[in-house]
C-alpha cells in the first residue's frame, strides 16, 4: 500500500516533465538511513556533439554534449553518489565521426565523467582496430561480456564487468552486445565471437552477486528493446533472468517516457530504460537502498 503515498509525486513528476530536472522529493527520500544512488545514462548518441540546429524540423536547439554536461553537473551537485553510463553507439552519425573516427566522442565522454559504456554495432563502423585505437582516449570502462575478442586487437582492452563502490553501495555493471553477423560486415568485426547474451548474463549476475556481493546489478545492453521475433531483446533478457535491477538499453532508439517494469524470473521487478538517440534525453534513475528490517513493506516502491 506504500505505493499510494507516492502517487502524488508521480503526478507531479509528469507535470514537471518539461523542467530540465526535478528535485528529489524530500518526503519519499527523507529517511537519512537510506543510501541514495543516482544513475544517469545515454544510448545511441551517434556522434551528436552539437545541439540540433535551430532550424531542425523536430528538435531545434536540443541535445548536445555541453548541455548534457550542465545537466550531469547539476545532478551530481544534488547527489555526488552518481554513476554516468552509456549503452553503446556513441560513434557514427555526424561528420565528427567521419573526420575524427570517434576520438572526440570518447574524449568528451571522459571529460563528462562517464564511468562505463558498452560496444554497439556502430562502434565497428571504422573497423575493430579503430575501436582499439580510440580507446586510448577513453577514461571510462568499456564493458562487454558477450563478445569474445581473443584474436582481435580489442583483446584485453575491454572488461566483462566492473564493480563501482559508491557510498558503500556496490554496483556491478556488465555489458551485452548484439549479434554482429548480418548487421556488421565481417571485415569490420573480424574474429569477434558473439556469445549467447542470456547465458552470459546469468554468469555475470552470479559473479556480481556471489563473488562481489553487489547491492545493485546493472546491465548495459545494446541488444534492442523488443522484437516480435525470437531474437533476444531487453524485455526477454529481463523476463528470463533474475537479479538485474536495471537494464539500460540501446540500439532500437526507443524513447521510453518512463522505464518499463518487467517481472523477472524470480517474480521481482527488473527495470528496462532507454532514451531514444542523439543525446536528446538523459535517463535518470534514483535508487534508495536500506536495510530490510527498516521498512515493513518488503516490496520495492517504484515512483516512475
Amino acid at each position: 500500500m506504500k505505493r499510494r503515498d507516492f502517487i502524488q509525486y508521480s503526478v507531479l513528476a509528469t507535470s514537471a516533465l518539461s523542467l530540465p530536472y526535478r528535485a528529489i522529493s524530500k518526503v519519499a527520500s527523507g529517511d537519512e538511513s537510506l543510501k541514495h544512488i543516482t544513475i544517469l545514462h545515454t544510448n545511441d548518441v551517434h556522434s551528436h556533439i552539437d545541439p540540433f540546429p535551430m532550424d531542425h524540423y523536430r528538435n531545434p536547439g536540443r541535445g548536445g554534449v555541453s548541455k548534457r554536461y550542465t545537466l550531469i553537473q547539476k545532478v551530481k551537485a544534488e547527489n555526488p553518489n552518481t554513476l554516468v553510463l552509456d549503452a553503446g553507439d556513441s560513434f557514427q552519425g555526424t561528420p565528427y565521426f567521419n573526420f575524427y573516427g570517434g576520438e572526440l566522442e570518447f574524449k568528451l565522454m571522459s571529460k563528462m565523467g562517464y564511468h562505463a559504456s558498452t560496444i554497439g554495432n556502430h562502434e565497428f563502423d571504422n573497423g575493430i582496430d579503430n575501436i582499439a585505437a580510440q580507446l586510448q582516449h577513453a577514461k571510462f570502462d568499456m564493458l562487454s561480456a558477450n563478445y569474445d575478442f581473443r584474436n582481435t586487437s580489442l583483446d584485453g582492452l575491454t572488461k566483462k564487468h566492473q564493480v563501482y563502490e559508491v557510498d558503500n553501495v556496490k554496483i556491478g555493471v556488465f555489458g551485452l552486445g548484439i549479434e554482429l553477423e548480418g548487421l556488421v560486415s565481417k571485415n569490420l568485426y573480424k574474429e569477434t565471437k558473439f556469445l549467447d547474451p542470456l547465458e552470459v548474463a546469468q554468469e555475470q549476475i552470479k559473479t556480481l552477486k556471489e563473488d562481489y556481493s553487489c547491492d545493485l546489478v546493472i546491465c548495459l545492453s545494446h541488444l534492442g528493446y523488443q522484437y516480435d521475433s525470437q531474437k533476444i531483446d531487453d524485455i526477454k533478457l529481463a523476463e528470463n533472468t533474475s537479479g538485474i535491477d536495471l537494464i539500460i538499453g540501446g540500439h532500437t532508439h526507443t524513447f521510453l517516457e518512463i522505464p518499463t517494469k518487467v517481472k523477472n524470473k524470480s517474480g521481482r521487478t527488473t527495470l528496462v530504460n532507454q532514451v531514444g538517440f542523439a543525446g536528446l534525453y538523459l535517463g535518470r534513475i534514483d535508487f534508495y537502498l536500506g536495510s530490510r528490517d527498516q521498512h515493513t513493506s518488503k516490496e520495492t516502491v517504484f515512483e516512475l
Partner: protein
Amino acid sequence: MKRYIIFLNIFLTLGLWSCNKKNEKEVQIVKAQNILVEESISENDSLKKFIEPYKSSIEDEMNKPLSYAQTSMRKNDTPYNTAIGNMMADAVFEMANPVFMNRHKNSIDGVLLNHGGIRAGISKGVITTRTAYQVMPFENLVVVARLKGMQVKEMFEYLSRAKKAHPVSNMSVVVDDDWSLEDYSLNGNNVKDDEYYHIATSDYLVNGGDNMKFFQKADTVYQIDYKLRTLLIDYFQQNDTINPKVDDRFKKN
C-alpha cells in the same frame, strides 16, 4: 601473538560486518525521470571551448551549398517507395553506371539500397555537404554484384517479404494484398533464371547487411571505389534542384 589476535579480531569483525552489510541493503524506492536536453539549458563553457577547434575545421566544408531541395522528404513519408529513396537509388544508377562501364565494361541492370540506410531526411531549402553527411553518414562503398537470375528472383521475393520501402532503381515490384510477389521486372525486362545481372548496392548489404542473403551468392562483386556519400555529393553538385517523386516502381495492388 597478542598483536595477531587483535589483528584477527579486526579481521573477523570486518568480515562479519561486510557480511551483514551484504544482506542489509536492498532497494526500497526507485524513482525515474527521462530528462529532455532542452534548448534552454546553458552550454558548459569549458566543454564548448574544447569542441571548438574540432568543429571549425570541418565547418567550412560542411556548409558548402551543393543543390536545392524543392520539398522536404523523409524516408517514412510513403509506404512502398519514397521520394528520398527513389532519389538515392536513381542517383546511384546515374552516377555509378559510367564508372562501372569504364572499369568493368558492363552496365548496371538495377540498384537496391536499404531503407534503414537513409539516416536522415532532407529539408526543403539549400542542400549542403552536411546534408549528404546526414543522409549518408556511413563510409559505405557502392559495389556491383553479379547475380544469376535465380538470385535476382530471390531479391524480389526478399523485397516483397521485407514490407519496407527499400530504395530501388531501374526495376519494378508489384505485390498483392498479402504482400506476395505478383510481378517484377529488371531493366524493363523479365528475369531469366540462367542469365547474369548486375545489381549496384552497398558493401554493407553485399556483406550480409539487413539479411539480404541473395547477395552472398553473387559470383563476383565488382569494386568501383566510390563511396555512397561521395556519389550523393557529386549528384547534388550536378543537379542544381532536387525534386524527386514517388512513383510505381514498388506498388501494392
